[in-house]
């Protein structure tokens, strides 16, 4: 066995972990895991986003419907005014 082999054997020799190694690892894992509150709040945020998007879409649709309704009413107002105008002329001519 030459000196290099001896050096490697010493360096790579099996060593037992310190006695509190397992406890420290578990403590570290527990510290990094998300708390139940955070896990719930993420769900709440997602639910709130769904509610906001759905509500926004419904409000936008409502607004579009209101605009379309107003345009239809304006169209009929204009058409009816013109027809009435023509009727007035006919009535005047008939007198």
């Amino acid at each position: 066995m030459d000196w290099l082999e001896q050096e490697l054997k010493n360096t790579l020799a099996r060593k037992d972990p310190p006695p509190d190694f397992a406890r420290r690892v578990l403590r570290g894992v527990a510290r990094r895991a998300p708390s139940p509150v955070w896990r719930h709040s993420r769900w709440l945020a997602a639910a709130a986003a769904v509610v906001v998007i759905t509500g926004g879409a419904a409000a936008w649709r409502e607004h579009q419907g209101f605009v379309a309704k107003e345009q239809v009413m304006l169209a009929f107002r204009i058409a009816a005014v013109k027809v009435n105008h023509i009727q007035t002329h006919i009535q005047e001519a008939a007198r």
């Binding site: 379309a68 309704k69 239809v72 009413m73 169209a75 013109k82 009727q87 007198r95």
Partner: protein
């Protein structure tokens, strides 16, 4: 792929043209007008609007019934501060379309004093009315209305007294 896209565009353009029976290219008059209205409501918009018209409100319910069978309403109105802002030639393009065999003029009113002209044309196919055009022109006003679909003129006229429009009583002479 390009052929399909072109075909889709042609079909879409044909659908648009078939919806509107009259073409009004009068956008240039809007700059001269003191007040103008441009309404282009196709069938889909009318049916969408119908969902928001109340059946309990007398006016809205009447309009709701009328638009149920319509395919579109297209209106252009212009009001001008001064007389002579528009020329009869502006209306010639529309009149030319109304000279087609499918259109017939049912009412024509000319007011010499006010210089106003009002006409109603109906478009029929297979002896059924499927469109109405209303042209009203005066020295300071120009209105073109095209209602596409089976229009009941009596119902339209009966809106007088509704929608804030004073009712005109027509005296029938026997």
């Amino acid at each position: 792929m390009t052929v399909l896209r072109t075909l889709a565009l042609v079909v879409a353009a044909a659908a648009l043209l078939s919806a509107q029976q009259l073409k009004f290219n009068l956008d240039y008059l809007a700059a001269k007008a003191s007040d103008s209205v441009d309404l282009s409501l196709n069938g889909a918009t009318l049916q969408f609007a119908a969902r928001f018209l109340s059946s309990k409100d007398a006016d809205e319910s009447k309009v709701k019934k009328m638009i149920a069978s319509l395919d579109g309403i297209y209106i252009r109105t212009f009001e001008f501060k001064d007389a002579g802002a528009w020329a009869p030639a502006d209306l010639e393009g529309v009149r030319q379309q109304l000279r087609g065999s499918e259109w017939s003029r049912i009412v024509g009113v000319k007011s010499g004093q006010e210089g106003e002209n009002a006409e109603i044309y109906v478009r029929s196919e297979n002896k059924k009315i499927n469109g109405v055009a209303i042209l009203v022109s005066g020295p300071k006003e120009l209105t073109i209305v095209n209602i596409v679909g089976p229009v009941d003129l009596d119902s339209l006229a009966s809106l007088g007294g509704h929608l804030g429009i004073p009712k005109v009583e027509i005296t029938k002479h026997k």
